[in-house]
């Protein structure tokens, strides 16, 4: 067979069906009525046993949302969501568990299958203390388990579902919720503010270095359900926390909406490291099904010398619309964005970051690696801006794109705005293809097509993988290989 034909056939045979997390859990669920209305919002708020101020906040967001338009500037095209035709709340019927023994065994099994340890005993066995990870598991609209809570609270760290935090720490939540991503920030964030159901809340007290990695594992299970999680992390003065989130969903023919909001606040000298491994169901080869991942993530370096670092490995979702950003408000604060975005099949990714330099001598660094295969489209969109008071602001941006095959696209859209003459912004961008000669060289030494691709791709993303906590880096490396299986001829 001539080489070109073979390549075409290979690309055609890309099989997204290798998505390993596509199974469904059958348990009894309690849902709100379909669609969105004040009643639905009251229902959600009542389910969470929320104080009046929270309900008022939600209703205000809903009012604003009704006047807003879905954004259309991203380089993605999709069938619009019918907001009247989805469920905004779905939770396992059993009441909230006080201990793991009370969790529905089906849910425990689900997390076991996903490789997420919810039993602390299992986590403890054979793992060095510094390698332990506390997990908050969110299943559709509610948190089903949070591990290591007791041990964390000894250090003064608060790590709990946000619905609990609203009841137990209303002052902290009131002070910070919506302070980074305002209620009216954008269409999806405003929707989230109205209907958010659960997510994680983290507070690290002054001077505390969080004794273990914190992580949240999001699972969408129920059909026709949107997931609207809300995460709020506050690192008080001089504290440090590393947080990781992971996401999966069952295979479905229809699209599901995931519209999350994540807010990070770093006070003086504090540091937050936020890592994401996003592996929502990407849809099938023809672009049927998959998650719409419309997410607003923003960190506020509110204090002097604070630092926020975003690291993301994005391999899933049919459509990704996501720009984890940093507001560099405190003098000498630093923002970082490390991203690997892999698209295959019919996936569309429009992702990047915003680095808003407000304080003096603020620095930021952006390293973005986009890998496109199949018939996918992968866009980096980034904004670096310096306010007129941001004397001495500096940014370094590096965007590299790698194309696999000849039916995919890579696009880089950098915006740079400087209102301060002393700001120094550097931008580098490259686009390359895995060359046939490189592939042949690797194969001549004994590597299969897949192994050669994985090796070359891993070399391409190495700078970013190094930013992930080690055990997740290994996981992410595997995930990238799986996402690209069958993509090279």
């Amino acid at each position: 067979m001539p080489a070109v034909q073979e390549t075409i056939d290979r690309v055609r045979s890309i099989d997204l069906d290798q998505y390993k997390y596509g199974f469904e859990t059958t348990i009894e669920m309690e849902k709100s009525e379909k669609g969105i209305s004040e009643d639905v919002i009251r229902f959600i708020s009542a389910k969470k046993d929320e104080p009046e101020w929270m309900l008022a906040w939600r209703l205000d967001a809903y009012k604003r949302w009704q006047t807003m338009q879905e954004p259309d500037w991203a380089r993605v095209s999709y069938d619009k969501v019918d907001y009247k035709d989805i469920y905004y709340y779905a939770a396992p019927k059993r009441p909230a568990a006080m201990s793991l023994d009370e969790i529905d065994p089906e849910i425990l099994k689900t997390y076991e299958k996903l490789g997420i340890p919810l039993r602390e005993v299992e986590v403890l066995e054979g793992i060095a203390p510094e390698r332990r990870v506390a997990v908050d598991a969110v299943f559709d609209s509610v948190s089903v388990a949070t591990t290591f809570k007791a041990e964390l609270s000894k250090a003064g760290v608060i790590f709990m579902p946000i619905s609990e935090a609203i009841r137990e720490y209303p002052d902290l939540v009131k002070k910070y919720l919506g302070s980074v991503v305002p209620v009216t920030d954008n269409f999806f964030a405003t929707l989230n503010s109205a209907v958010f159901s659960d997510g994680s809340f983290v507070y690290i007290p002054p001077g505390v270095r969080c004794p273990m990695e914190l992580s949240t594992y999001f699972r969408i299970n129920e059909r026709d359900t949107g997931q609207f999680e809300r995460t709020l992390i506050i690192a008080d003065k001089g504290s440090y926390v590393s947080y990781l989130e992971g996401c999966t969903a069952p295979k479905r023919d229809d699209n599901q909406l995931h519209a999350a909001v994540v807010e990070l606040v770093a006070l003086d000298d504090a540091e937050i490291k936020y890592s994401t491994v996003q592996n929502w169901y990407p849809g099938d080869n023809e672009g049927k099904g998959g998650i719409y991942n419309f997410v607003t993530k923003r960190g506020d370096c509110r204090g002097a010398n604070s630092k926020i670092s975003w690291t993301q490995v994005e391999t899933g979702s049919a459509i990704t619309w996501k720009y984890p950003s940093c507001i560099l408000r405190g003098d000498n604060s630093r923002g970082e964005f490390y991203s690997i975005a892999v698209s295959n099949g019919m996936q569309q990714v429009d992702s990047g970051t915003k680095m808003i330099h407000l304080g003096k001598n603020t620095t930021s660094r952006i390293i973005s690696k986009g890998i496109s295969a199949g018939r996918s489209q992968n866009t980096y969109r980034g904004l670096v801006s310096a306010h007129k008071k941001a004397t001495g602001a500096r940014n370094f941006t590096n965007c590299d794109s790698l194309l696999i095959g000849d039916q995919c696209g890579a696009h880089t859209v950098p915006y740079i705005e400087s209102k301060n003459a002393s700001a120094q912004f550097e931008h580098e961008a490259t686009t390359s293809k895995i060359s046939e000669d490189q592939m042949f060289y690797c194969q001549q030494r004994g590597l299969s097509n897949e192994e050669a691709t994985a090796l070359i791709v891993n070399g391409f993303v190495r700078d970013v993988l190094q930013q992930l906590p080690m055990e997740f880096a290994v996981e992410a490396q595997k995930l990238i290989s799986i996402s690209l299986e069958g993509s090279v001829g």
């Binding site: 060359s435 060289y441 690797c442 194969q443 001549q444 004994g446 590597l447 299969s448 090796l455």
Partner: protein, 250 residues
């Protein structure tokens, strides 16, 4: 033992190899010399299995098995090694990572167990020392920023680690100074053994002073047109390729 029978190959409708016949015996070092455009590099790529070449006729038998049916990595696992004229750079992939991945891929393909990390490191260090490859070079990304001589030494290091049955050296001497030539040739000579054959492709007799061949073949217009012992190479050096160019277009 390698037997090439009636090998006829075209690229983009242009026939490059015209019914080539060649046998390289066990433990033999065969040199192929010939003018530019005679098809030497095509031969090396077709042996290794590069796409783009259309095999119209013939077979390449390695120990009686036709390797033309195999993918490049299958050929590698059954013992074919090509030292590239222009070794490729693999950015971001550490040399040790690459060496380990390839060695273990071949071992797996042959049903052998993977090498343990300490055993692997010992093996690499021993081979690297002979080729005067320092540890610093092994830490860098494969071939990235390597000089021409370093790249060629890295090819021979890989050959030493993978222990192939049939080694094709495609103009390994090109771009080498005398010192590098001595080191590279020394590395090749150290690998000469019963059960391993070499096909050394070169323009110049110079390399054959260091890697002394058992047989010399002259290639022209996609065929072997003359064979002899090492003195044939010396004669060619004196007379040039003029008599083999007859009928060539340019």
């Amino acid at each position: 033992m390698i037997e090439i029978k009636n090998l006829t190959v075209a690229i983009e409708d242009k026939q490059i190899l015209n019914g080539l016949n060649l046998t390289v015996n066990d433990g033999e070092v065969a040199a192929i010399m010939g003018p530019n455009g005679s098809g030497k590099s095509t031969l090396s790529y077709v042996i290794a299995g590069k796409e783009d070449y259309e095999v119209l006729d013939g077979e390449i038998l390695l120990d009686g098995v036709n390797i033309l049916e195999m993918s490049p990595d299958e050929r590698a696992a059954s013992g074919v090694f090509l030292a590239f004229q222009y070794p490729l750079e693999i950015p971001g992939v550490g040399t040790m990572t690459f060496l380990k991945a390839t060695l273990n891929a071949q071992r797996r393909a042959r049903g052998e167990g993977e090498l343990s990390t300490p055993d692997f490191i010992r093996k690499v260090n021993a081979a690297a020392e002979k080729l005067e490859i320092n540890k610093e070079m092994l830490k860098r990304a494969l071939n990235v920023g390597f000089s021409g001589g370093e790249k060629k030494r890295m090819e021979i290091l890989q050959m030493a680690l993978l222990e192939p049955k049939f080694c094709v050296l495609d103009e390994t001497d090109s771009g080498l100074d005398i010192d590098a030539l001595r080191i590279v040739s020394g590395g090749v000579n150290a690998l000469r053994a019963q059960g391993r054959s070499f096909l050394v492709i070169t323009h110049y007799q110079r390399l054959l002073d260091y890697i002394v061949p058992d047989v010399v073949h002259v290639m022209s217009q996609g065929q072997i047109v003359k064979s002899g012992d090492k003195d044939l190479a010396k004669a060619l050096e004196a007379s040039g390729y003029a008599e083999y160019r007859t009928g060539e277009a340019a």
